[in-house]
Symmetry: C2
Subunit: 408 residues, 2 copies
């Protein structure tokens, strides 16, 4: 095990969540001597929403989940680490079918209510017999209080387990939202696909949940990047067990879910930032605040261009507040920008403004800020009201070490 | 001086080119004890074409050249290394004006026939008095045989000087095309902007030249990437002195320029590949051949997505023929792709085909190929006839070393 990221956070207490039982087991799919298979069983009536990778070459489990999502119901989730079951052709589809069928037998539901996610190497056939034969004992061991075990069971190159939990009120009743995630490199195929599973005891119509999840993921996971490489397997699933006793939520959600939406967004952002904190080789968490763009979409693209620029990321690793590179990255984004209206601040100190350097700005606090674990960059385009916040990490020798020698 | 890139090539013989006199001098703008200022004087009647960065935050010299290009005539080129004159506001424009005025005086031409390029740090005011005061002596020293001196005078972090020369026939008459370039990191602001200057003794209408240059740059420089970071100063200029005695070329060029176009394209590609060979930290030159895409544009985007993927580039650095990462990069490009029709080869050996690994492919030659200085990746989409070739280099610790500590 490599040492934990210097940006790691502590695993929170994860209390039981009504309608959810979990467990993990060692199926020896790729790793040895550790859990690599996680099973979660949901109460009858659980609804589900999901958001997946935009890759044109998605893994077989992503195809499976997309199809299963049509039913809006879930009874089980099966996740394996070590093999992504991506680009495995017919064998990949067969593995999903066999896994779903075996799990459906155990929990007594239609196969389409079993959700599947896999993470690990691309292009190797998943030995699903190992997985299937480990399921009965694993199913017998499921418990309400095994959240930490599940969190650890889905890790690949993650250096710390990732989870978050919040409570929210729906019509005067408390509900809980708990989620777990893995990813080290938001998006790093072969090994570090981003997976995130969130459960709530609220009783939610699938359509309302899907809308909330889509919006929440757009503002959290989709605003983070470690290395610009989109995985073939990125998956975020939200399960609602319906065990809490709150007033009925209408099919289209609406105002009654306002507090729930806030809490869900907080869980998503918490988990997304944990993934960035565990970015491969990361030594600094970077927050990029873009304002004054023509639209929010434009602001997001500019923020991502800065976040994905190897020159900006290496400068941050070198603790150099190199605003020239930030300007370069804004300029290459292909979005509306006017050099002479552009301003850039690092750690709250405006260094570049109106097409030139700010004369006599105080470099002291900037140098100090760059030495910390968290770096804040502000970019104002001076054009409109579009804004966006993007998170990333720096690019260090650690990234090269990890990715220059992973598979071999 | 860092050691030359392991991918470096030898500087070719650069014979005099009628109508071009060059020289270099030490203006001490940033570097000490080396030439950092280059002046080129062209014969009366020289025509010019140019292609520039697509950055929305271009440097003042790029603005200057774009405006000057309207006249279609050139008498001089002034290039300094060490300071990019980018994001320097009014001072940047003033520096261009002063440089052009002083040069125009020396060569006796309108200021708008002086072309200017600067490369180096962003955001520092260019001390143009130093530059201007070095010009008279430099002008007095111009010679027809100083091509190598000029090539070396425009280097920044380049580890070897870059030049290429070819001959071509226009209507039975030989003409010469010679070019010099700098760049180490095709695109690395602060220091390693890509600049390229090409001269020919052909007599060419500016409009015909502009069309040829645009097409040639699209197929050469615009098909290369070191780190995906587009400079604020990228500049390619083509000067035609008109000293060769060939039949008149019509305003729109046409068939008489077919051989010239081929030779120009060869010079552009030669120089573009020299820039990639000097990519920061580069240990391997990578050629990515994309075929079977729906369009040529789509093929180019897919090739660039692969070429810019940090995970593909680190795998190549690690000599790992990791085709799973190539599939990931194809999938994230946002272009039409069908996982089940996609094929990938490395070093000519097809490893992935029809949505799965090629059973029993011979890994021996692939491993051998990955150990060489040049790596070839072939991607067939199986969808249409669109194709493109992209060149890049690997991503190594050297890149982090250079860029994590440049400015400070």
């Amino acid at each position: 095990m490599p040492p934990a990221s210097p940006l790691a956070v502590r695993l929170p207490e994860l209390p039981p969540l009504a309608g959810v039982r979990l467990g993990a087991a060692a199926a020896e799919i790729r790793y040895h001597g550790r859990d690599d298979l996680v099973l979660v069983e949901f109460a009858v009536g659980t609804t589900v929403a999901g958001v997946f990778t935009s890759s044109k070459c998605p893994g077989a489990p992503v195809d499976w989940c997309r199809a299963a999502l049509g039913g809006g119901k879930a009874r089980a989730l099966v996740v394996n680490a070590g093999n992504a079951n991506v680009f495995t052709g017919r064998a990949g589809r067969d593995a999903c079918l066999a896994t779903a069928a075996a799990t459906a037998d155990l929990v007594d539901c239609p196969a389409k209510q079993v959700f599947i996610a896999s993470t690990g190497v691309i292009g190797e056939v998943l030995p699903h017999e190992k997985l299937v034969s480990a399921l009965p004992a694993l199913h017998a061991s499921l418990r309400e209080d095994a959240w930490e075990m599940a969190t650890r069971g889905i890790m690949t190159t993650d250096t710390f387990p990732k989870a978050a939990t919040r409570t929210a009120r729906i019509g005067g009743t408390d509900v809980r939202i708990s989620g777990i995630a893995k990813g080290s490199g938001m998006i790093a195929p072969d090994m570090a696909t981003m997976l995130c599973f969130i459960c709530t005891d609220a009783k939610l119509p699938a359509a309302a949940m899907q809308a909330l999840l889509k919006k929440g993921v757009d503002a959290s996971f989709n605003c983070t990047t470690v290395d610009s490489d989109t995985s073939t397997s990125d998956t975020v699933l939200l399960f609602a067990t319906g065990q809490a006793k709150h007033p009925r939520v209408p099919a289209d959600g609406g105002a009654v879910l306002a507090d729930f939406a806030n809490a869900l967004n907080a869980v998503l952002l918490d988990l997304a930032l944990q993934v960035v904190r565990d970015g491969e080789g990361a030594q600094k968490l970077v927050r990029i605040e873009v304002t004054g763009a023509t639209t929010a979409r434009s602001a997001k693209r500019i923020g991502l261009a800065v976040a994905n620029s190897p020159l900006v990321k290496t400068a941050i690793a070198g603790e150099d507040a190199n605003w020239g590179r930030i300007i370069m990255a804004v300029g290459k984004a292909g979005e509306p920008a006017d050099r002479d209206k552009l301003s850039v601040a690092v750690g709250g100190v405006w260094m570049a403004r109106d097409g030139g350097v700010v004369p006599g700005y105080d470099e002291g606090p900037v140098v100090q800020h760059m030495k910390g674990w968290e770096v804040e960059i502000s970019i104002d385009l001076g054009l409109g009201r579009g804004k966006s916040t993007i998170w990333t990490c720096d690019l260090t020798h650690g990234y090269i070490d990890i990715n220059g020698s992973y598979r071999s």
